[in-house]
Symmetry: C2
Subunit: 697 residues, 2 copies
């Protein structure tokens, strides 16, 4: 749905004038709750209601046609059929932005699907930005607009929140209100018939007050476009996504809920990594990460300094840091000396434990010393209740000293009521505070992750030199399934393949074998045989003088094109690389170790194609069994650069030839000095009807 | 420290009379805060203070000797040297229980360690139950006793809380107060010089009001005793443990904090599994699980029914259920029919979505129908804010209907302020409520885990028939390191070993080889060679007629005892089983797949020895690569019963011969119809000084 140029959503997000179709004067009705909220907008607001001339002091007109001006934004909350009529009337009137709150469209199935098609048609006809249908609405706090029926709106702030679930959106609103967390925008996407997450990303990225974009999504409409735009946006602002339907059971619930075809979770994982999106796993993590990112500077690295008045919680924090990939390094000698001078009985290792009777002043000094250490990138202050320590005082002191180091610092006040006021003081100063030490650490780890995303080098993915004409010929001349005889596909992309050739007669086979050494490998090429090895369709180590006889036996197994004669390679580490197509995100490259690792252990990694060289290396390193390639147990490491290059080239093949529906290179044999692709299976789409070539009965 | 009979802690936990050594009349002092709390005790309370005759209306005496009666419990909060003198005076006086709040003992190092030894000596001399030193104190709400200096005590309730960290304990107290969660006891263990976690488990298990025992621990003092007692207690009551120092960094902080030698995390994991302890990973999880276990019935199985007014949160809950190993199965046809009748537009799949405009009555009916389904073991009610729904009303309705099904049910009210009152209502009715759906699911999963622990069959671990005399001889006659020549150790325990024998001459080697087939394996037996294969000390597939020559070459490699001649076995799946000794928990059995799986991938599992047959099978099934043994990729499965029996027998060998410090059986070759131990390495402790036997230079 996304056009090539980003849509201009200014009139939707910060409208100058508004009409509410379905405004009601009857308390208890949705249309009343909605209009009460919108009526507080500081600019012109009109109600559209056939039987009232005024509601809540705002003028009403009977129909959209009667509006005195083409308002910037129409909000529609009338039954489905009326909603469509009103939307068309808005289009005719020249209104270019609409929020359709009305439900009963695609999510309902049946004729709802038809209605949604009609809505898209109307929006397209008039070039309208339509949010919804089945949207919970839109809140634009700085504009003074609450276009939802939520009892309360939102404070103005730095977090833009996008939700595919109205319910979850309303929950977040209530949470934000209670915790005094401000939002720059609140957008409930509804059915995403016209406007999707992808449209809002650039609009929110351009907004100066928006520091972080947080989204709850159940699916993504235009996968490639989302990845492209997210990749740009996340170099400027962090994007957090909670993706529901991560598991099979979850996905079942997802599709019955929105009718969205959920892409596989692995594809989403690959897409989020590519787009620099910070994926979170729970609502709390989404909110806490958004708050931390909106308030805190980014750390230069992953080194955490911990200051505590309590050993136990400090250990828990150190455990959490290790789990989140943060280091808790020893402090520098000058820091240790200064700490020891100021706190003679304290533990000056990191975590620094200034002991239970530490005062608020003591905390200030310790935090200052630790955050001044050049070997510390971020700080965590942990406190447990002690009669000597006033939490509120500590909070004020931390708030005052916090900005001076330019490093992120968060607090974990392990207390209930005693810590409440202190947490408010901290939050007001921009210091997130958490009961649970592990959550404080998780928030810091998210800051570090985003810093790494923001600063990652721009990927360069130049298409490799390749004989594309040959690939075209090979794909077109074969049938829907290609095998070892099409290894030339890989060779055309510069990937080393085992030497060999297709023999169509015993003589040809013998001639080929002569060039390939004393012993060769024979593989029958027969479209009807799926598992060649099981029926004797593969013979390994056949002596040259037996090739003729073997040929004759093998072509008798099934209607065969011939026999592929291949050099016999020494044993090496087997790996598999492959291509699959995800309905949402397109070509994915898979990598794994051969044999049991892929099939029994599922130890594979995925990435979106095409890949830059560093991305290909990240993919290869991403499997659990990578140590086996790197030279574990005293074995020599495999030729990693060659393997990475092969994977990179396969990813370009995937990206450039969409007719390759699936492809497995299995195995690629890896040696210390080279890698060689040995066998291949390809499924070509759009070729189903073609014969397999010669030899087909 | 634990005696064979459990200690009687009645006088400590529910004392009839109390003295406070170090009671102070000066506000702001710890001794005053402490005495103010204790003074509220309904029975006799005395202060021990040299300069006051009365504090807060309670009588004071100058010294312990002056007390008018041997009180049930003395609480000591004076400087370390005085504390020891007072403790001895208490002993002389006949006082049998003491809490030592005073710090400056082992945790301080140096002479603190000496002081702690003296404290142990005094306690032992007088047979005293001493809690601490360096304890934050003890709270016994039903007895009206708050023997801490915390500003507030605790409500009486069903959760017994034990903390090795005073700071974490004080944090939990404050949290419990704010959340109106009651405690049966609060125990701060301090340095655990005398009384440890293991002493409190049986005492708390016997307490009728205690429903769940929750502990924060940094280490365990007497590992085997803890495991034994936990195993008994957890059949009656759930025991939750948050163990700090789970990671290397965390462990570093732990040992600098308490001086406790942290056992390895894997050993703790094995011990907790054996003892039926529910291990949790964060403070919040500890508290939430404790509340859920104290309030809810246990589910019969893992089948979760979800009722929601919001699709998005329901998907998140289903995701969380899959992650936690709970099923979200389709409901039974009658339930689906009844739901469809009552809610014509709802989604009657599980999760059941009764749509955003559901009323509180609608929720009640849906929850009743779902919990009545015989295919549902537990329920989760999810709600997001909606103008039509009053959270407080829903909470009252859920509270009223909750007990009738005898199944656990929790709620996730996705709201901030709107849900606060509702959560209180639910909590008062014994229904835990959570903002985050995933946390609600986690609590339910803990209930299911405990149900499985409580109902697990009693393990039967009869020592196997074994030639123990032979093992004794083999262990005594060798040196500190034994190898393949000692495979008889395993045979003595009924574990099948490869055929073979030790040849001490070329003739013997040839004679042995004759019985072992056409080709044999030769392994040099030489104490100085650590990696035999690297120096040519292992020859595989030697033809019988070459054995003599090979013998002579191999014994020349190093001072050698001889050459072990072994049958040549066909290739099979290699596995490794081993024994290691953990300083805290003793003998651990390790199991893993051979080769790269253990060494490069670390895919191993541990369990405490000895093992019952089901425990041995659980261990074997516990590795990630288990599918490779179960017959992945069309390969035949290995002989699992034989493998399990071998592992079981090795575990008994470990348990019965503590002089085996370490043992590796590597490999055990596994076939479809048998398993065979092929090689062995043993380190014998207490044998370091012994010569290797004959052949030693």
């Amino acid at each position: 749905m996304s056009p090539d140029m980003p849509r201009d959503l200014t009139g939707l997000l910060t409208p100058s004038s508004i009409a509410v179709v379905g405004a009601s004067a009857t308390p208890g009705k949705i249309g009343h709750a909605l209009f009460s909220n919108v009526a507080a907008f500081p600019g012109p607001v009109y109600g559209v209601n056939p039987s009232r001339s005024q509601i809540l002091g705002r003028p009403c007109v009977p129909t959209v046609d009667d509006l005195p001006e083409p308002v910037a934004l129409a909000i529609i909350a009338v039954p489905p059929a009326d909603a469509l009529r009103s939307l068309a009337a808005c289009g005719r009137k020249g209104i270019r932005n609409a929020v359709v709150i009305t439900a009963g469209f695609k999510e309902q199935g049946g004729e709802g699907i038809e209605r949604e098609r009609e809505l898209v048609r109307i929006a397209s006809q008039y070039g309208m930005n339509v949010l919804g249908p089945n949207s919970f609405g839109l809140i634009s706090p700085r504009a003074g607009l609450n276009a939802t029926f939520a009892p309360r709106g939102a404070f103005a702030g730095a977090i833009a929140f996008i939700s595919q679930s109205g319910a979850l959106g309303s929950a977040v609103l209530d949470w934000a209100w209670q915790n005094e967390v401000g939002l720059s925008f609140f957008v409930s996407l509804g059915n995403k018939a016209v406007l999707t997450e992808t449209d809002f990303l650039p609009a929110l990225a351009r907004d100066r007050e928006t520091v972080v974009i947080a989204a709850y999504l159940e699916g993504i409409e235009d996968g490639p476009e989302f990845v492209r735009i997210a990749g740009e946006v996340t170099r400027e602002k962090p994007v957090l996504v909670l993706k529901a339907g991560a598991t099979e059971v979850g996905a079942r619930a997802a599709s019955s809920h929105t009718g969205a075809l959920a892409g596989s979770d692995r594809a989403y994982g690959a897409a989020f990594r590519r787009g620099g999106v910070l994926r979170v796993r729970s609502v709390e993590e989404l909110l806490e990460a958004a708050v931390a990112l909106s308030e805190q500077p980014l750390p230069r690295g992953r080194r955490l300094g911990i200051v505590s008045n309590a050993g136990g919680p400090a250990i828990l924090a150190a455990d959490a840091a290790a789990e989140q990939g943060l280091a808790v390094p020893p402090l520098s000698p000058p820091t240790v000396r200064s700490l020891a001078e100021r706190f003679p009985t304290a533990s000056t290792a990191n975590p620094v434990d200034i002991l239970a009777d530490a005062s608020a002043d003591g905390f200030r000094d310790a935090v200052d010393l630790v955050l001044s250490d050049p070997g510390v990138d971020m700080g965590l202050v942990l406190t447990a209740p002690h009669p000597i320590l006033t939490f509120a005082e500590l909070a004020r002191i931390l708030a005052a000293s916090h900005r001076k180091h330019g490093k992120p610092a968060v607090a974990s006040f392990l207390a209930g009521e005693l810590g409440e006021e202190a947490e408010k003081t901290l939050r007001a100063a921009g210091i997130p505070a958490y009961f649970e030490p592990a959550r404080a650490v998780r928030a810091l780890a998210t800051l570090a992750r985003y810093r790494e995303i923001r600063d990652r080098p721009l990927p360069v993915r130049p298409p490799p030199a390749a004989d594309r004409a040959r690939v075209r010929v090979l794909l077109a001349s074969g049938g829907p399934r290609l095998g070892v005889e099409s290894l030339g596909l890989l060779a055309a992309y510069g990937i080393p393949i085992a030497r060999g050739g297709l023999a169509r007669s015993a003589d040809e086979a013998a001639a080929l074998a002569q060039d390939l050494g004393e012993r060769v490998v024979l593989k029958v090429v027969a479209p009807e045989i799926v598992h060649k090895s099981d029926v004797g369709g593969v013979r390994i180590g056949v002596p040259a003088h037996e090739v003729r006889g073997a040929y004759r036996e093998m072509v008798g197994l099934a209607p065969a094109v011939g026999v592929y004669v291949q050099e016999l390679l020494p044993p090496g580490q087997e790996v598999i690389a492959g291509i699959v197509r995800d309905p949402t995100f397109g070509a994915l490259v898979m990598f794994g170790l051969g044999g049991v690792f892929v099939e029994a252990l599922g130890d594979v990694a995925f990435a979106l194609a095409p890949l830059s060289a560093p991305e290909a290396e990240e993919l290869v390193r991403g499997i659990r069994a990578f140590p086996l390639l790197a030279g574990a147990r005293g074995r020599p490491p495999v030729y990693l650069a060659g393997l990475v290059a092969a994977v990179e080239r396969i990813s370009h093949l995937a990206a450039e030839f969409p007719e390759i529906a699936e492809l497995d290179v299995n195995p690629i044999l890896c040696y210390p000095d080279r890698v060689v692709a040995v066998d291949l299976r390809v499924t070509v789409s759009g070729a189903e009807g073609l014969p397999w070539g010669r030899g087909q009965p």
